[in-house]
């Protein structure tokens, strides 16, 4: 980010985090122009009257109070993912990935979960490569005339008819596999974007009260994984101190037991700490309410199962939908009632404010526009591979992806990146 230059590396000044926290506060303080986060927000520094509505529309520096609801980010990303699932045009897919990537680049924080985006991109590329490799090795039902090369074919017995190993590889089948892989990759990257932008811990905190404690357990488990990795690294380096090579499978096997032991000890310690801090305190609930809760929750879940079966099965679609709806309603009621048993309150829950609504709406808009585009331009969105044609970028479907860029403008700007690698 541009503001990194404002806090030059100066290790004598103390830990990097303290400096950037200071920078954050400076940036958050409208009276101090030195902290104004870049050229886009000079309006906040001026008196309110001068900039007026423009100042109000500018994206503020993110802090806890104005953070977007994580659900909004997920809705936005799922919208993009739905859009991606509706096309195989590599140019449109590229555009969707580009939109997601731009928003991530503009709005992701320095938090550990934000770094997962790169992993998802790599996973996407791996999926593309894998899809092509399978297509080349196993052949493809796509008829083609442009033979690229011919692999030696493995003769298979008669009972394995329909399966081919090796053989002709045509340009058409490779292009088809590429398009298909790209679609999957785009879906993955959209999920990765949501992962990078929304704090998973806060998302779990938005669960209903009855599920809150399960959510806390997941949060603890998530902070656990990095600790485990750190343990492995520490013990591996400690092996060097014993004069044993730190690498290799044997090293990992050898430290496995101590690592697990350490993890177990830590989990006991965390459990003790949670207990001593009031985890699992429950309010007294009349037995009638408790029983109703159980009946509603179990009955609701049963209803959901039966309803989904009805919807998916060949017959009975008529009562599937109402049953599903009734089951859902009962389950929600059960969860609500169950929440009464929990005395917990929420500290500063994320609110679904106007900016969250806009972010969510932008994603949904992309999805809806793309589904409609399938009606008027199906050919452009699914370019044929037989015969091979160069895909075109259809104007209107391309434009309908662009609302997805809205979060890059309206979501709160994350504070200056920390320079530390911690």
């Amino acid at each position: 980010m541009t503001r990194a230059s404002e806090t030059p590396a100066d290790p004598t000044a103390g830990p990097a985090g303290v400096r950037s926290a200071r920078a954050l506060r400076r940036a958050a303080d409208p009276a101090d122009p030195t902290g104004a986060p870049g050229p886009r927000t000079p309006g906040t520094a001026g008196p309110a009257g001068r900039a007026g509505w423009r100042a109000r529309l500018l994206a503020p520096v993110a802090d806890r109070g104005n953070a977007l609801h994580p659900g909004a980010w997920w809705l936005w990303a799922l919208g993009l993912a739905v859009a991606a699932s509706r096309t195989t045009n590599p140019l449109v897919l590229g555009l969707i990935v580009g939109v997601a990537g731009y928003v991530v680049a503009a709005r992701r924080t320095d938090a550990p979960w934000a770094r997962s985006y790169g992993a998802f991109v790599k996973l996407g590329l791996f999926v593309v490569a894998l899809r092509i490799v399978f297509s080349v090795a196993l052949g493809s039902p796509i008829p083609g005339t442009h033979v690229l090369f011919t692999l030696p074919e493995v003769p298979l017995p008669a009972w394995a008819q329909g399966i081919r190993l090796g053989g002709r590889v045509t340009a058409e089948q490779v292009v088809f596999a590429l398009y298909d892989g790209l679609k999957l990759a785009a879906l993955l990257i959209c999920v990765g974007a949501a992962n990078a932008l929304a704090n998973p811990a806060r998302l779990l905190k938005s669960l209903p009260g009855a599920l809150y404690e399960a959510g806390v357990a997941v949060v603890v488990a998530m902070t656990f994984a990095p600790n485990l990795v750190a343990d492995v690294v520490r013990l591996r380096t400690a092996r060097r101190l014993r004069g044993r090579p730190a690498g290799g499978v044997r090293a990992v096997l050898h430290i496995g037991l101590p690592v697990l032991e350490g993890a177990l000890e830590r989990s006991v310690a965390v459990a003790a700490s949670m207990d001593a801090r009031g985890y699992g305190r429950t309010a007294r609930v009349p037995p009638a309410v408790r029983r109703t809760t159980n009946v509603l929750t179990l009955g609701g879940l049963l209803g959901v199962c039966a309803g989904s079966y009805g919807l998916l099965a060949a017959q009975g679609a008529g009562y599937g939908l109402p049953l599903l709806a009734a089951g859902l309603a009962a389950a929600v009621g059960g969860l609500r009632l169950g929440g009464r048993r929990s005395v917990r309150t929420r500290y500063r829950p994320d609110r679904f404010g106007p900016r969250s609504w806009l972010v969510a709406a932008s994603g949904i808009a992309v999805a809806v526009l793309m589904i409609r585009a399938n009606a008027y331009a199906p050919d452009a969105l699914h370019p044929g591979v037989v015969p091979l044609t160069a895909p075109e970028l259809p104007l209107w479907p391309a434009l309908s992806v662009l609302p997805g860029l809205l979060p890059a403008v309206i979501a709160p700007v994350p504070p200056a990146r920390e320079e530390s690698s911690a």
């Binding site: 506060r25 092996r239 060097r240 090579p245 032991e261 001593a276 309150t345």
Partner: protein
């Protein structure tokens, strides 16, 4: 507020009860300090107050513990959560959430406080503990002192009437420890919180206590009364007992006001022993009081009377662990470190790398070392030379780069620029099997070094790793900690025993350079004293020792030279007496009391007073 009525706690498969017949009443608003050697049940007693013993740890509790009228027998820890705040030894094991603000709110959420109340209390607590700037930071990125403050803050927000702390300052550097203690004192004074705290580093905490509880006999009394009889006591008390001061002083300030007579006696003694007064007095350098003092880097005054050759072992003649270190020549502190000082000075004058001459070939030669991690410069332009037989203390605040430096010396981190030579080898490019015969590191958590199920297996593995004769490690263990059975699991050893085992494993390969990272964390005074004896014996045997420590008393007792690291740079490097006495943060208690006289430890004073 807290009542123990004839409480005994027995853990399963323990030989006897951990606590036996404790009767105790702690009134509201007192700060009570638990003292006693390791393993007398301090943590158990603290756990009994919060209800974690026996509800969480198992074991049998007989008798009755009540906190504000609630019996812990019938109340689970979570039902005491609004009353008792507990912070354990390891703050990292305490955290449930991932950011500072969430952590502060967690306890209140569990209790179901109203959102407006929670918000207000979080802001108050952020201010009280000076955490406002860190509110959005992930907890994992905080330093040890910050984490400890967050841990304390996270239990304060529920406004508990009782605060239970297990070794709150052990892992902290001196100034971070003072921050934490200042907060505790403020709580006691302003909010009337009852604080029950166990701590090994008494020199830091005893002056804050209203009363002291001495275990295992559960003697409760004023600090002065208990300290007069306690087997564990800070140096100021030891000096007071030695000098026969009555009542016993607990703070450096009290002791200083009484120290006039003692100082005069010491002065006389020194003149008797060194009538010519020829020895240079190391302490009164013109710029006392500032740590980044270039003074110690240049030799001032003439060479010490008993001129020693450069790099000669200053203590080969001193009987190991006799406590008579350096006292042969009148000015005890000035004698130490001279031998070690010379290679350093030579290095300053002729910085030609790799040109060790004659007998003074340094074991360790660090030349303009820099280490970067991403954009962070963890170390910059570090120069360090260590000669055989020297003991060097690395000091500096948490996160200053001490551990990074030690890791670089054993090749766990490759230098970004500059060079490290250990007995002429480049550590990170050397095969670990060769390297362990040149340099050994006992890490901060000695357990990291130990893999095996039993002490016996561990020793056999260490012999195999080092290529030593079978039985070498076992013999070292027996020498360092007599009475540890082969079949014991390393986890069941006490902190001190585990440290000794790790040290034995490292020494099996007989490296001439031994590094220790925070060796006294969690050790009581007795274990620390044993460690000091062992390390002195090693140094007397010609080994060089480098220890990174926050423990100023340890540095004063052991080190010939102190190197202070700040922000990845060496800001002071010189004989212990010069560097340590001139610093308010790093001076040991005896030095503060007897300044400007050059005494650092009670042992030296005792030796000097001996007829």
């Amino acid at each position: 507020m807290i009542r123990f009525e004839n409480v005994s706690v027995t853990y399963e498969d323990a030989a006897g009860p951990t606590l036996r017949g404790v009767d105790l009443t702690v009134p509201e608003g007192e700060l009570v300090l638990l003292v006693g050697p390791s393993g007398v049940g301090k943590s158990t007693l603290l756990g009994a107050v919060s209800g974690l013993v026996p509800h969480f740890t198992g074991g049998t509790l007989s008798g009755r513990v009540t906190v504000d009228g609630r019996d812990t027998r019938t109340h689970h820890p979570r039902e005491l959560a609004d009353l008792v705040g507990t912070v354990g030894q390891d703050p990292l094991a305490h955290f449930v959430t991932d950011t500072v603000e969430d952590e502060l709110a967690y306890g209140m959420e569990s209790l179901g406080l109203a959102p407006a109340v929670m918000r207000r209390r979080v802001e108050e607590t952020l201010d009280l503990l000076g955490l406002a700037e860190l509110r959005d930071r992930p907890i994992a990125t905080l330093s040890g002192g910050q984490q400890q403050r967050v841990a304390i803050g996270s239990v304060l927000t529920t406004h508990p009437k009782v605060l239970v702390l297990d070794e709150p300052t052990s892992a902290l550097d001196p100034s971070a420890a003072e921050d934490v203690l200042a907060v505790l004192q403020r709580l006691v004074h302003d909010l009337g919180t009852t604080v029950l705290m166990a701590e090994h580093r008494l020199e830091r905490v005893v002056q804050y206590a209203d009363r002291v509880l001495l275990l295992p006999d559960a003697v409760l009394g004023t600090p002065a009364e208990v300290m007069a009889v306690s087997p564990v006591h800070p140096p100021v008390v030891a000096l007071g007992r030695l000098a026969g001061w009555e009542p016993l002083p607990l703070t450096v300030r009290d002791a200083r006001r009484r120290a006039g007579g003692l100082k005069a006696r010491l002065e006389r003694r020194r003149e008797e022993r060194d009538p010519a007064g020829a020895l240079p007095r190391p302490v009164p350098s013109p710029d006392r009081g500032s740590v980044p003092d270039p003074g110690p880097r240049t030799p001032h005054g003439p060479a010490p009377a008993g001129t020693r050759g450069p790099g000669a072992d200053p203590r080969v003649s001193a009987p190991a662990a006799s406590g008579a270190r350096g006292s042969g020549d009148g000015a005890p502190a000035s004698g130490k470190g001279r031998g070690g000082g010379f290679p350093l000075f030579r290095g300053r004058r002729a910085p030609a790398p790799g040109a060790p001459d004659g007998a003074g070939a340094p074991l360790l030669d660090v030349d303009r070392l820099a280490v970067r991690r991403g954009r962070v410069e963890a170390l910059r332009r570090v120069d360090l030379r260590v000669a055989p037989g020297e003991t060097i203390a690395l000091m500096g605040r948490n996160g200053a780069g001490k551990s990074t430096l030690l890791s670089t010396l054993v090749g766990m981190i490759a230098p970004t620029s500059g060079s490290v030579r250990v007995s002429g080898l480049v550590p990170h490019a050397t095969d670990p099997r060769t390297l362990i015969r040149r340099v050994g590191l006992v890490p901060q958590e000695p357990r990291d070094l130990l893999y095996a199920e039993t002490v016996g297996e561990e020793c056999a593995a260490a012999d195999a790793d080092a290529g030593a004769a079978p039985g070498t490690c076992r013999a070292l263990v027996t020498e360092l900690v007599p009475g540890v059975a082969d079949a014991t699991h390393p986890r069941d050893l006490s902190e001190g025993q585990r440290l000794a085992l790790a040290l034995a494993v490292v020494l099996t390969a007989a490296p001439p350079l031994v590094l220790l990272d925070e060796p006294t964390r969690g050790l009581d005074y007795a274990a620390k004293a044993r460690l000091v004896v062992r390390l002195r014996a090693l140094a007397a045997g010609g080994r060089a020792i480098v220890l990174a420590t926050h423990d100023v008393e340890l540095a004063a007792e052991l080190a010939d030279r102190v190197v202070i690291v700040a922000g990845g740079e060496v800001v002071a490097d010189g004989p212990t007496a010069e560097v340590v006495v001139s610093s308010p943060a790093f001076a040991p208690q005896v030095a503060k009391i007897l300044a400007p006289e050059p005494w650092l430890t009670v042992e030296q004073v005792e030796e000097a007073l001996r007829p």
